[in-house]
Symmetry: D2
Amino acid sequence: MATYICLTREGAEESDLRELADRITALGGTLETRSAGGRTLLITKADSAVVLEAELTRSAQVARIFDGDRPHPLAGREACPERTVVDIGGVRIGGGRPVLIAGPCSAENPDVLMEAAAAVKASGASMLRVGIFKPRTSPYSYQGLGRDGLSALRDARQEFGLPIVSEVMSVRDLDAVADSVDLMQVGARNMQNYSLLVEIGRTGRPVLLKRGMAATVADWLNAAEYLLAYGCRDVVLCERGIRTFERTTRFTLDLNAVPVVKELSHLPVIVDPSHGTGASRYVAPMSAAAIAAGADGLIVEVHPRPDEALSDGDQSLDFEQFHALSAHVGRIAGALDTGLAAAPESLMAGSLPTRNSRAHD
Amino acid sequence: MATYICLTREGAEESDLRELADRITALGGTLETRSAGGRTLLITKADSAVVLEAELTRSAQVARIFDGDRPHPLAGREACPERTVVDIGGVRIGGGRPVLIAGPCSAENPDVLMEAAAAVKASGASMLRVGIFKPRTSPYSYQGLGRDGLSALRDARQEFGLPIVSEVMSVRDLDAVADSVDLMQVGARNMQNYSLLVEIGRTGRPVLLKRGMAATVADWLNAAEYLLAYGCRDVVLCERGIRTFERTTRFTLDLNAVPVVKELSHLPVIVDPSHGTGASRYVAPMSAAAIAAGADGLIVEVHPRPDEALSDGDQSLDFEQFHALSAHVGRIAGALDTGLAAAPESLMAGSLPTRNSRAHD
Amino acid sequence: MATYICLTREGAEESDLRELADRITALGGTLETRSAGGRTLLITKADSAVVLEAELTRSAQVARIFDGDRPHPLAGREACPERTVVDIGGVRIGGGRPVLIAGPCSAENPDVLMEAAAAVKASGASMLRVGIFKPRTSPYSYQGLGRDGLSALRDARQEFGLPIVSEVMSVRDLDAVADSVDLMQVGARNMQNYSLLVEIGRTGRPVLLKRGMAATVADWLNAAEYLLAYGCRDVVLCERGIRTFERTTRFTLDLNAVPVVKELSHLPVIVDPSHGTGASRYVAPMSAAAIAAGADGLIVEVHPRPDEALSDGDQSLDFEQFHALSAHVGRIAGALDTGLAAAPESLMAGSLPTRNSRAHD
Amino acid sequence: MATYICLTREGAEESDLRELADRITALGGTLETRSAGGRTLLITKADSAVVLEAELTRSAQVARIFDGDRPHPLAGREACPERTVVDIGGVRIGGGRPVLIAGPCSAENPDVLMEAAAAVKASGASMLRVGIFKPRTSPYSYQGLGRDGLSALRDARQEFGLPIVSEVMSVRDLDAVADSVDLMQVGARNMQNYSLLVEIGRTGRPVLLKRGMAATVADWLNAAEYLLAYGCRDVVLCERGIRTFERTTRFTLDLNAVPVVKELSHLPVIVDPSHGTGASRYVAPMSAAAIAAGADGLIVEVHPRPDEALSDGDQSLDFEQFHALSAHVGRIAGALDTGLAAAPESLMAGSLPTRNSRAHD
């Protein structure tokens, strides 16, 4: 039994697809449809790969055809002749120049965020990361500003012109987050929260997908496949450490995943050395190592006063440490004949990526 | 700084709590409130444990006080003088007699469900498990019947009088699932989906909480703590295998967790040998081992024709194998001076646990 | 290219084998010989499995032929039509009745050993375990009595008539240990110490092979294969916990390995819940679980006064706890229609297994 | 109870130490002695740290005193005011310039070795690695040339002037290997083979200590502690991958260990990306990453024709790939303001490190 995954042309109507479904049924095959952003995803099966592919190729409704018998039809290396470059407000992730994303673990208050944004921009960050919904292990720990923090994100975005990365933890908050940030993050603990992946996928918006702490690379690419299958085009993978028996680091940052992902997928991959190690003193060497391994960027926790941070202070750099890290990884990038990506020249207010506008073109 | 977690008396109003908040503030402490089912959860802190505890004890609004400096204030062993027994339609989990829960991985169609329900009941199961929302690794795999399957659950429940366990994957489906099943399951992949835990907690309904595949026992009890802190009282823990380097089994079923959980928590713990091993031929020995280790029950995948199952066929028992397993674990339970829990004598239609009616009494 | 592993008849001389080697060379194949106790092991390869097998079958020098293309030619399930039963001084491991092996982690002095031997025998142990060479993580920790302890082992053996299990850590001590104990143990840390395996194998003496803490079941069976390929016939496997991310137990005792090994190998398998959990309070439930899972025995640390033990006191049972454990696992064995193996009626002084006498008959 | 570990002055006699032992006994303390190369190691304990330290400081027999209550008295960071630089025939490991060690997994025949030695030297390697004793998972796999290969090592050493690294697997071969190689390797599978560590330690010769695949960093430093406590001074640590659940790489190369070891120990640390990943295509990026993380060198498998290698062909680079790797990591080292270590200008025949000559001076 051969399987092909297809994306229809934009604007294809259900009635247009009925004829195709009939023809595939006539071949003894099956066609299942799913809404995927502005398009429809088709899961087609038939006994003969040749006959099925011919039928799909002939259909005016079908825009792209992917081999469904590969492990990751849309996320796999063969799905895309060229590597995917994800453009976030002018910052190109996967475009050759490593991207430095930095900011506080949580926006405890707008002042901390503004202070950090100014400092990381001055030190070479081209995007700002900040948490307002925080997945905390204990229900009694500080849980982030929540929706009240979204306006602080928009303010920082406008004032410093840096695209914003922030985590979305619940479908309840999806629309609000999508309207305030440039790159939505799916955290490690939600990597296999499939209902969240489906709904985020349908927005067609770019996603930063962190690797689950028990996720094999195959699991991780399957999570990316969910996002792509439901309408995302722009997925950035992020290695952030896996669970092992070792105890000197909070997790084991798995840099092997960088060349492995480059081989198995066309998607860009960045590295989070802050959560991956859990200790600020290991962030600089592991950042340099990540860039040398070929990562497309770093996402680093920076706080004005790590000792006072309400979460993750142990793994946050202060401004001076981040400035040194930026120079250090810049030298490594230089040795690879490139340099760090620059911040966008002008990031328009209200210029958040349109939903689904460019999904799977 | 001392921390106490408190549950207010039912019906306590915000105005009633304001005075308490003022008194704690006057002590230099803090009081934070969260809605927890029909009550309010208070997170109180002050420099002096003695003074703070005295203030809380004196308050008419405070029903119960827990030591917030323990790792798991509500889920930990010290929170409850006696072990929690979770009563699901008359089936008591944690009450001394191991409970046998069985059924198909997914209700592919109502007939399979009815066929399986009849067989597992005849062989000694006292509850029926069945998936209608399926967290599948690939977006192209069969995803379950979804909401369309809920009526099949209700039909099976009524016809066979067995309480139903089924997974809820999204807050979108929470109300619908809560109205159709007796025991809502949080799957391994959602164990740290905190926004789901919070909303389920608020229903006050019983929950089967599977251990995440990278979750330490401490992480798992923290997830239970979320449920308890937001209004659940009845949490059943379920060990289902962790990720290790070993490859002969799909996961490594960690039976050590059974005595560990018994030591650290008052909550009952059952074992899923089907997902834990991923192979039907290992289910019987690991079931026997789980009961011998002290587990309060088993949840086992059973399918009329495992070869034809749309998901997890490799790990499903057929009816004959399940019948043998039931007899086998019954003998083990007998050696422990007990026996398997019986199915409920009469399970009323519409007798689903009332939401929050008995949360934290 | 087909591979067959052969054992020659006892007494086959090199000259006898030369002709066979010539014939295999004439077929375009190869023959490599290795000393394996009283016999010779042949590793033969040729293009045609049929032709090679015919040649080997015809040879009067070849006693047994094993398929070298199977993962574990000698240790694998197919190598032996019946399960191997290892007879240690009359105690049959793998013979249906679980064997209880117990004793102190280390023989700190002869009195402790004698005291423990008397107690564990009275409570139902049929073999005595005791360490005199101790693999300690720190070079400054107590390292065991060493060779000075061997006479204590012999004294205890004679006085109580229990066969002795003790670890051998170095080829330097191999002869001395072989002359004093009934069952030599290879510890987890030496499971892939191949030069030790080879030399132990050549003695032809029974071996208790503990699983390495990072060893897959396949690795473990390969270590057994070394012992068998060099002359052992009697290998008892012992699960003792693997390294995982979980921290409430010192290791994760992997009981799944019991049914897995039963499926993949003909060798008996026992379980060490003391090292596997690292905590005496988990030893009883995990012992019961091991027997329920089908283990052929248990090896348990017992000390007169665990608080005073020079090593592993945290995981040692006192006499009363061991007595209760023995009764408890006896009941579990009873539920499986069997009972614990009895101690040997009379264990002759000097009746240690002869070296190689029965290797591969 | 305070513990101090001491090294005596060279030439201290047992009689000299008796007086010290008497004085410590008079304090109510204990003194245990162990032979440690040309010196004696003292393990001293007493109730009062101050009194004990004063006694030891006063003794003319005591050359150095280490705090025995630290996790790794000799291997830990505090034991040595400056980082240890290990000089192997003029190549300084840990001296600032990363050292490139390369060669074939096994010297299948002298020609392969000579061919590889010429090529890796031409491409910038400063030391030659080659296996003649091979720890193979299967007893039927190629086991290396064994002792017959030692002369080939000496020939290559003399012809190319590169110091040799090779594994010693058994105490039986220890003297022979010590007389033929510059840096003896303890393999991952023998990292906790304590009797081997003790005997190697007593030679006082430099050791490359690979991390066990289940070894925490603490376990690894304890193994180094064994070597140091028995007479080695020059231990080079080598990260080579740990066992995790991930399956795209053979092991998970744990580069986090590089900065962790730099923090916890004064010993140099190098990285083996060949065994760590198990795939030649990941060796270059992980080599660059290792250097960027701060590793003191690399040990890389190189073979003239990897497809024909009798072991580890999948992970071996060919000459062209190694040449590119050398240039690549050279650029990374350049970005860190250093460069690769050069091969020794002249390596005298017979200039193998004298045993114990400089142990603990």
